[in-house]
Symmetry: C4
Subunit: 507 residues, 4 copies
């Protein structure tokens, strides 16, 4: 049948279902992607699966909304399709998905969530496996990923007593903006993998609790959607992956400034997005083994999971010389996200930037990169020595992210000189398991923990959390796997406690 | 039916069984708690469960005996009830409780208890789950709780030989009072959760063994009951939570002094009682899930377990300036319980106090607080440096508590400068599993271990236990979870021993 | 029936089967132990079990052969019994014992024993549980016991290359006597628990391999049996527990000297034998629970296992002043066994002794005593500093024992200054699993390992094993149990390898 | 029947099937090995199993092809056999072998191999057990074997940001020869145990990827086969075990030089090949237990596994004085393989050698030898101090091998001063699981990892990988097994997460 008016018909689209002519429907519009197939960062195969069909459901959680219009020449935009005529892509509900839905129904009430770990425990069970793999995975052996949390466990408190802590106040300012706690929601990609509202969950909870959200370049929601969802005076930052095409970057930055973004966090630890093997293995498990085998020999690298598919635009050529250009295109404060040694922090300071985030990208980039909290100690010490700086410092702010799960973790960072701490995955897990209410609860837990722990530290305000309150002398003591003494240990008979008498059942 | 004489009838009370009019019976008296419902630290729900009924059984193990009379205005004390007319609250014996009773019956004879760990192993099985959760739980990730014991394992002995140890004597003096060992029974709350006689078990065993008991503010037995149970010349101390209403505190302190209490231990590490998640989780498991869900949305925080329910009176505003006031109201020696760094120990010394307990409250307050034994090393070193003090010191005594399980632990503390060590949970577990006989046995085990280990150390008396006898150089080496090398390790084929031949069964 | 001639009859003896009159038969002689019952270090109960009967089988593995004649006044020696008339003590072969016999039959051939660990793996399975418990147990938490081995794992090699190691020679001299390796068989008690020939297994294997045996005071075989079993020029040492009655000690020492013993090792780390809880628990498991309960209340301490039963004679009053007396009664070189810090090693040197064994008694005495190998490092350093000594030193020899399982362990000790190393338990396990052939094999394994490892170290002789060949800089780094990060870790999804495809079974 | 022409008949050979007259067939030729039986390094038994038969299948993977002709006098070469007349040695396919074949068929496609660990995971399952045991085993407790990898985990990165890494280049030169990566394929023995093409898999993959192969003395393929398989300009090195008969060594070396070998790596860490217990245990499991028992008593040492069988020719007398002789017989650069301390590295430098491999032979020789990467730190420091050298250094090159699994491992070694890193086992596992394609994939993975990690380090070329990019301050911190706190830990109740509600099945 023919197209209705200016609209293409589903039947027409359906004919273009091969490598020779491949049309797909996204958000009610038809695109001819035939010539784009081999350029698709995620490989041609996943597109061909939807050749001639509506790919919206697959497209949405992975791509920024304007990805297809931005990347495909206008002449390949074939126009709208008549929705009535499009055959629904039949989604088979697998047994596994049914089991997952049952687990969703069995979530405990939010009251039983006592700490940020709990969200992860629930999310792991109720998220689609692929989404879990993308969120939770990290580089290589995931050493840095776990070190990020473990490093906090090498820092101990030296609390003070007999200080009046009737009133405690954990609010602070970040880049001059009020925050109800020394925490911001850091940028993480692909929020819709975990929840249909994606990053908007974060925006709304941030508004309610008076914390700042950093909007990711690779959000599932568009930048404007996220800004629109904010309250009038709600402060938002922008995380930026710099595009090889600087015009695109310029457009993004200046648009952000116009929309009222208060800080630009330029990611510098990801000239190329890391290999995350859990994510990659998940892909194989999800696909037809025979297909995978075949595809292995056609020379196309399909093994990089979701991360690679969305990141090929990132410029590995970004360098210090580009900083002046950024200054020329925006007046937003500039912060480098992903600095990992004092030398680069010093360069950033000397370049007149507003601060740095000491971060290893949640362990997703270079494995064996050190934790932000360990780097913080060295940066504070060396920038004090070289430039006489004291931290926290209004003019040059230090942030850390990665591995934070407790207010005590955050207070350790504050004591050591950080202005605030970024938290990412725990909020993803919060909305992946409970939506907006989950993020709300997560922030409430942090409030409760701050109140408790400031009192127990003897620090009525964030300014009272000083270096003498922590012992970080073990921060650079890195253990490693011990080559266990297997023969000796298997001979050793483990000691036993007293035991209950065996109760013999009566006959 | 009508009330008999001045007594209210059970039937009358039973009518007041709602939020609108809520009466309860405790120890044969009727109280109108309607207006108190929202102020109850433990939430209104648990009271409403007993609205119109006898709540004594639930009330007793959690509240100090005079809590209700102290907290409720006199006009709400409605007078005695006629016991004949009160309907018994039917207590259903659950299957779980029946299984527990069987475990109680299967306890091994006391002879088989070889060390303090054994009591815990038995108590964990024979105590009601809720009681176990309250006693055993600690703050956040329970890191400090376990560190308290682990820290002793980083201290090693340097024993001396060829010293005449035919006679060994481990008695000492604490605040000038004789103690048969360098140990006191420290204050722990809610003794009746573990045994009907509660803290009296400790009083009686302390008398028999010549050790000193520190009476807790939050005892299940009343202060006077505990003092009355002591022998005429038995030494007791008092642990004090300072009330927001200083008049109440003054009354308690002066009453204690009149009753012959020999030392006042003011708790300074608990301006707010810690979140103990095991305790909190237990609550959820014990209740009807649907109820919990509902209550989650009424804005009342019910999630804090037993600790919070009984501690809302504690003053977070207590500060150094209050010390002079304490000196003005009592002549008892004043000791701060919960000091955690040398700076505060120095302030305490300069304030003319009699000593400090280096303690983190059994790991139940600030997680990642250091162990008392680690703090001891720093306090001895710094107070020596700053004030020329040597320890142990008669004028300013240092105590530690937390994590002690063996006489060797105690001897390490003594060698490092402590006057004595407080032990808490092990005695709770001792009476929770075996009543008074358990505490008696626990103290006997310590005696046996002291005799043995003083001989093996080459120290005939406590004074001979000197710093050179320990190597504490690893005390501040804090390991942390190692990010394990999972792929490598799972590839590694563990070595095997020689094995027995497989014996083939004959046909 | 009446007694035959001078012999008592079994029937007569059998009448004396109670606490009021208790006779027992040992090695064909009758003893009246009625008045000795309460003095028996192992308690009266075990004797009463054999009242009126032949106790030889129970007596033998625990007591030195002359224990009963030495301890009982001559008038209680009632003379021989007519063996024909003695009713056999019926030994029930339990199911457990039958299972053990099957395991004995299933031992692998000696060829499959590749290292000293293997003997322990087999012995644990083929020994009677009680014997295993006595040999393997150690003090308190058995921390020192395991540390003894673990400490060697903190020492690493710095081998040399391109040295001619065609011929390698690991023989040495100990107190001036030739030894085919820098190893001696150290004293361990109650050899017959593991094998009917007890310590004679060690004597014979020592002869074959040219190593020196140290005869224990608490041997199951008598001293003279062990000396008689030696070859004419075989060197033996004697380990001495000093008796409260110095005359007994004098008699033992002078007898030993007359029999040709070449060195007297006076144990100084055991004024009282340690509590070994595995040993103690074993006892409870082996007995009738109701009996144990009862006995618990009769005031007799029966809880100390085999060790205490045989050691009550040891003098806790032994002191430095006694050393001169030892010099006055013997010309044998005197060595202190159980020195644990440099201060005592220095005293021993200044007292003109021939050497010290740096030992903690196999971890069986004071728990948290440091390992001999750790003490060695401090002793070599401090005696160098204080007296200008170099080690190994002919005039003042240092030995270590405890935890040795490999020739590499021994070579580490040699490199650090030890003259030789004592090995105990591995040889017990060797004869407990394979008798004399086991000890022979154990020594052969050490020979093989010495040959290999001297070559790989680049050291043709023991003298070439120098301090620069080891890195012991971690020797005093004591880790301890880490308070694990339980919530984080249980959330962490462990990485997986590539996996084989699942092979579906064909229908 | 009679021999056909000059050929011996199989029937004739079959008669010589005993210790008295023992002929075997190898590669179609008959050898009289009767007098060689007792000299066979692997014992006589394995030969006697093939007495009178064709031993080729057993001979091939263990022996270099010319072993028999080199070792047997010419008069014992009896000439060719008529293949028609030789009875096939019937090879029983065991159930275990059938199961292995099924596992081979179930290998995942190469696409799913994400890292070098994966090859090992597959190889372990698809290799014959004996071959796996030979490849994977190491000395004694395999501590050094595992330490080799663990040591890399104690080194952390200090990456730089904002450096233009659009183009990254990880090629380098080794002994002046171009290599596409700072990696060479190190020598490993007996390649045919894992794959019929043995070392040729490595030669071919090396050619494709532009890396250098080091040919092992103990290859399963002959030296010339391996050289012949190389492309015309392909660079190969030779690893040399020095023969007691220097003429043989001279012949080998000069032949290698003529064939174009570019570097001679003289192994100096193996005067005797190590005891590898996993390998030895495998042997017992594979044989008839009754036979093993018997053979145990005939005095022949059969317990040394494959390694010993092929290595008896190695000269334990090799020493520094021999270096001049090597210089006199070849102009190839000389490198010592197996140097393990700075003192020997210095001697090598002063002797004018071209470099050293800091290696412990994959942990297969001296256990508790330190890892190459740890030794590297000391060598760079000391040779800088003593001779003013800087590394990497063209004149005196440092290599390390052992434990390498990731490009990050290699980059750590480069940063610390190594010129290149040798990788052995991972390539063996690669061809044992997937043949040539496996090695190809393994090298491709390394290329991918280098590209990624150079970018993330901020190092466009290998020269930019400098010491400041790593923190190796923990390299000499060796943990060891911790004597665990068993009683405390078993009492500790592990914390739990929030849990899903239990879903009750509907009826």
């Amino acid at each position: 049948m023919a197209a209705t008016g200016k609209h293409l018909s589903g039947q027409e689209v359906a004919k273009h279902n091969s490598r020779d002519s491949c049309w797909i429907i996204v958000h009610g519009n038809v695109y001819d992607v035939t010539e784009f197939l081999d350029d698709h960062p995620g490989g041609s195969k996943i597109i061909l699966k939807y050749a001639g069909k509506d790919a919206t459901q697959e497209y949405d959680p992975i791509h920024p909304p304007d990805a297809i219009t931005n990347n495909l020449p206008p002449e390949r935009h074939l126009g709208p399709v008549d929705p009535e005529t499009v055959q629904k892509v039949e989604v088979k509900v697998t047994d596994e998905e049914k089991a997952r839905q049952q687990r969703v129904a069995a979530r405990p009430p939010l009251d039983e969530i006592l700490n940020l770990h709990d969200f992860e425990a629930i999310a792991r069970q109720v998220m689609p496996e692929k989404a879990w793999a993308y969120y939770s995975s990290a580089a290589d052996d995931e050493i840095t990923n776990r070190e990020n949390h473990a490093a906090y466990h090498r820092i101990w408190f030296r609390p003070r007593v007999l200080r009046n802590v009737t009133k405690v106040d954990w609010s602070t300012t970040i880049l001059g903006h009020r925050s109800s706690m020394p925490v911001y929601i850091t940028a993480t990609a692909l929020g819709k993998l975990g929840h249909p509202d994606g990053e908007l969950n974060l925006t709304r909870a941030a508004a309610k609790h008076g914390v700042i959200q950093m909007i990711p370049t690779l959000a599932s929601c568009s930048f404007d959607e996220i800004v629109d969802a904010a309250r009038p005076d709600q402060v938002q930052f922008l995380q930026l992956y710099v595009n090889k095409d600087r015009n695109i970057t310029k457009r993004i930055v200046q648009h952000a400034e116009r929309r009222g973004i208060k800080g630009l966090f330029i990611t510098v630890d990801a000239p190329q997005l890391g290999r995350r093997e859990k994510d990659m293995r998940m892909k194989f498990e999800a696909e037809d083994p025979s297909e995978v085998t075949k595809s292995g020999s056609d020379g196309v690298d399909r093994s990089q999971g979701a991360a690679r598919a969305i990141s090929s635009f990132i410029d590995p050529g970004l360098e210090w010389a580009d900083i002046d250009w950024f200054k020329s295109i925006t007046r937003m404060p500039l912060i480098l996200k992903g600095v990992q040694c004092w030398e680069d922090a010093l360069l950033a300071y000397d370049a007149g930037l507003a601060g740095v985030v000491l971060s290893n990208h949640g362990g997703r980039q270079l494995d064996f990169a050190r934790s932000g909290i360990e780097i913080l100690v060295e940066v504070v010490s060396k920038l004090g020595e070289k430039r006489g700086l004291k931290f926290p410092n209004e003019k040059f702010q230090l942030y850390v992210d990665g591995g934070v799960r407790r207010a005590t973790d955050i207070l350790k960072a504050i004591a050591l000189g950080a202005t605030a701490v970024g938290i990412g995955r725990p909020f993803l897990y919060a909305f992946s398991s409970y939506g907006l209410e989950g993020v709300d609860k997560a922030l409430q837990i942090l409030h409760d923990e701050f109140e408790m722990n400031l009192r127990l530290l003897g620090a009525p305000t964030i300014k009272d959390v000083v270096p003498e309150m922590v012992d970080a002398s073990n921060i650079s003591s890195h253990g490693s796997a011990i080559p266990g003494d297997k023969l000796y240990e298997s001979n050793y008979e483990i000691m036993q406690h007293a035991r209950l008498r065996e109760v013999k059942p009566k006959l």
